[in-house]
């Protein structure tokens, strides 16, 4: 039962693209889908899914809360790495080999952030599949000039200025969650930034891997796109809160209210 990789996929609606994500995940993995009981029924019969946790009964349950349920569930499997995927992401076939190669070379590091290709899907041309168009590469800033003191390492001071690491698609050692906590469920947005800042502040080494392990597809309803429609004022408030809160663990922060 000990599979070395656990993938957590929060799923808030019935969307067939989740099957593409599941199909892309290499065999030696445990897949945990965190969703509602209705969707659980819809998913029933899919052999590749190991666990379907049906806590998503309330529409307002936050994304980080779903991820935390997945993290709690992953403990049963004693994995080496936990990775969070959006339902429409795909994993590259060599992803595990890449992560294991870097984890072996840098055994002290806690979080591995491979590159992700952000792509836009294209319409079929008749019967012909058209490959997606590359829009951007993420997690690349770890390698850019002047960003980190040591190339490839996510620098705490630079992270304070801007978030340049996408948590989805990272490979996280479970002990990192155990030691420094999971995601703060009250954070509707910037939950990932707060967590990364907290890890970086606590000395967890976050290493960029200069190889692609994930494709993220851009849709109007993807989180990536949703971020764009949040107004600047709300963004600023959440950002300021994030930069004040990361000193505290998930259970020791103040009550959060954003108006």
């Amino acid at each position: 039962m000990n599979k070395e990789f656990v993938y957590i996929i929060p799923l808030h609606k019935k969307d067939k693209r989740v099957f593409r994500a599941i199909a892309s995940i290499p065999n030696e993995s445990t897949i945990i889908i965190v969703t509602s009981s209705a969707i659980k029924k819809w998913l029933k019969g899919h052999d590749d899914i190991d666990v379907v946790t049906d806590i998503l009964e309330n529409k307002n349950t936050s994304y980080p809360a779903l991820v935390n349920v997945g993290i709690a569930g992953s403990k049963l499997y004693n994995p080496k790495f936990i990775s969070i995927l959006e339902f429409d992401d795909t994993v590259t076939p060599n992803a595990h080999r890449i992560v294991e190669e870097y984890a072996e070379a840098y055994p002290e590091d806690g979080i591995f952030a491979p590159l992700s290709c952000i792509v836009k899907e294209n319409e079929k041309e008749g019967e012909e599949e058209v490959p997606p168009t590359l829009v951007a590469i993420s997690n690349e800033a770890c390698f850019a000039p002047g960003v980190s003191e040591e190339m490839g390492i996510v620098d705490y001071n630079m992270m304070l200025r801007t978030n340049f690491v996408f948590i989805n698609g990272c490979y996280i050692k479970p002990e990192v969650f155990e030691e420094f906590g999971e995601f703060k469920e009250a954070f509707d947005i910037f939950y990932d930034y707060e967590w990364i800042l907290r890890m970086s502040y606590n000395g967890v080494i976050i290493r960029g891997i200069p190889k692609v392990s994930r494709f993220h597809y851009l849709y109007d309803d993807s989180i990536f796109e949703k971020m764009k429609i949040i107004d600047q004022d709300t963004r600023s408030k959440w950002l300021n809160l994030t930069r004040r809160e990361y000193f505290f663990g998930p259970n020791e922060g103040r009550e959060i209210s954003i108006t």
Partner: protein, 374 residues
């Protein structure tokens, strides 16, 4: 140089004996260039290898006491600060002690020296040591060739250069030697994951204009790769240079005119993926199986090749064959291969010189007999 004395059969027999007994010296002229040069290093290696294998060889520099300091990193020195097994003499110190049994090797870019030795009727065997095809005709007036300076032999450092030389000078006798790259100095890191996402390069020979243009074209064609860093390997010590290659994931070869090209082999040994031009001379080991090759001087194609190479790497799609072919290419230039080729070539030169002396003995004998009859 003792070139005005009339030679006798007895003299020639003594020369023959010296040649047969290995009692002669091969001199290698080198200009006093301060800047690091693969060609100079190769010649020093060549002389060292000859002395270690029963031949006598010396470097000939121009100014008295000149020493290329940058070579300190590559060669062992004795207590008097001289390179071990690399004796050096200087033109400024007076007459060159060359005799008929000796050999004098001249770099391809020095036709004035070839002419000067020809005019002085230098008695030694003169051979061009050609390390860069690009300078051969550039250094000569149109229509001229080395045989006009009495030179009919050439030692070349790559097969592709040898081919070129035979095409432009059909009567030239060309032998090919191989150089070696120190596989102890150029090594990969313990794990390839320890490499940095860096593209190393040595600027193009035009002062870096073309290499800069390629890099800018690459960024224009691949805007999503703006995070990729290029690192110029200039003005580094040997150790800094080998460390930089060891740490780099990629190397770009911007040399259009190399006769052999040491840097790509050093990069192969350091397990860098390579894109670049083959410089014509590198064709014997640089090919589409071991690198991302573009036609010499084609800026656009090289920029695309760099992009393709990086894409292939970050998608973890580099075929196993590329790594195997890189390794295979380095096997051509081992110390053993270098020694073998140097010993073979100089043994052949000696044998050929003995035959030349034999022919001369016959000729002089006839002249002496005729004179005796009178």
């Amino acid at each position: 140089m003792e070139n005005n004395k009339r030679i006798t059969v007895k003299d020639l027999q003594a020369i023959r004996k010296k040649l047969k007994g290995g009692n002669y010296t091969s001199y290698f002229f080198l200009p006093d260039f301060e800047k690091p040069s693969g060609g100079m290093q190769l010649t020093y290696n060549h002389v060292k290898c000859m002395n270690e294998n029963g031949f006598k060889a010396k470097i000939v520099h121009q100014k008295s006491g000149f020493k290329p300091e940058w070579l300190n990193d590559y060669f062992e020195k004795d207590s008097e600060e001289n390179f071990v097994n690399i004796p050096t003499i200087y033109l400024d110190d007076g007459k060159l002690p060359v005799s008929m049994e000796d050999f004098f090797f001249i770099p391809e870019g020095f036709p004035q020296l070839m002419e000067s030795l020809h005019k002085q009727n230098a008695p030694c065997k003169r051979i061009v040591f050609c390390q860069n095809w690009y300078y051969v005709l550039n250094a000569l007036m149109p229509g001229m060739s080395w045989d006009q300076f009495g030179i009919i032999d050439c030692m070349s450092v790559s097969n592709s250069q040898t081919e070129y030389l035979k095409m432009i000078f059909p009567n030239l006798r060309v032998k090919t030697v191989v150089g070696h790259i120190d596989d102890k100095m150029f090594t990969p890191p313990e794990k390839l994951a320890h490499k940095k996402l860096v593209v190393s390069f040595i600027p193009s020979r035009d002062g870096g204009t073309k290499s800069s243009n390629v890099i800018k074209t690459f960024y224009a064609l691949f805007p999503h790769f703006k995070f990729i860093q290029f690192k110029e390997l200039g003005g580094l010590s040997a150790e800094e240079y080998s460390t930089a290659l060891r740490e780099s994931t990629f190397y770009v070869h911007f040399d259009e005119y190399s006769s052999w090209g040491t840097a790509p082999i050093e990069a192969f040994l350091s397990k860098c993926l390579i894109a670049g031009w083959d410089g014509v001379g590198g064709r014997e080991y640089m090919n589409i199986d071991n690198m991302w090759l573009a036609q010499n001087g084609d800026i656009m194609r090289l920029a695309l090749a760099i992009g393709n190479m990086i894409e292939t790497y970050i998608m973890d799609d580099v075929p196993k064959k590329v790594w195997e072919e890189m390794e295979k290419a380095t096997q051509i230039y081992t110390k053993e291969k270098e020694s073998e080729s140097i010993i073979n070539v100089h043994t052949e030169y000696r044998e050929e010189r003995v035959k030349e002396v034999d022919r001369l003995i016959e000729m002089v004998k006839k002249v002496e007999e005729k004179e005796g009859e009178k």
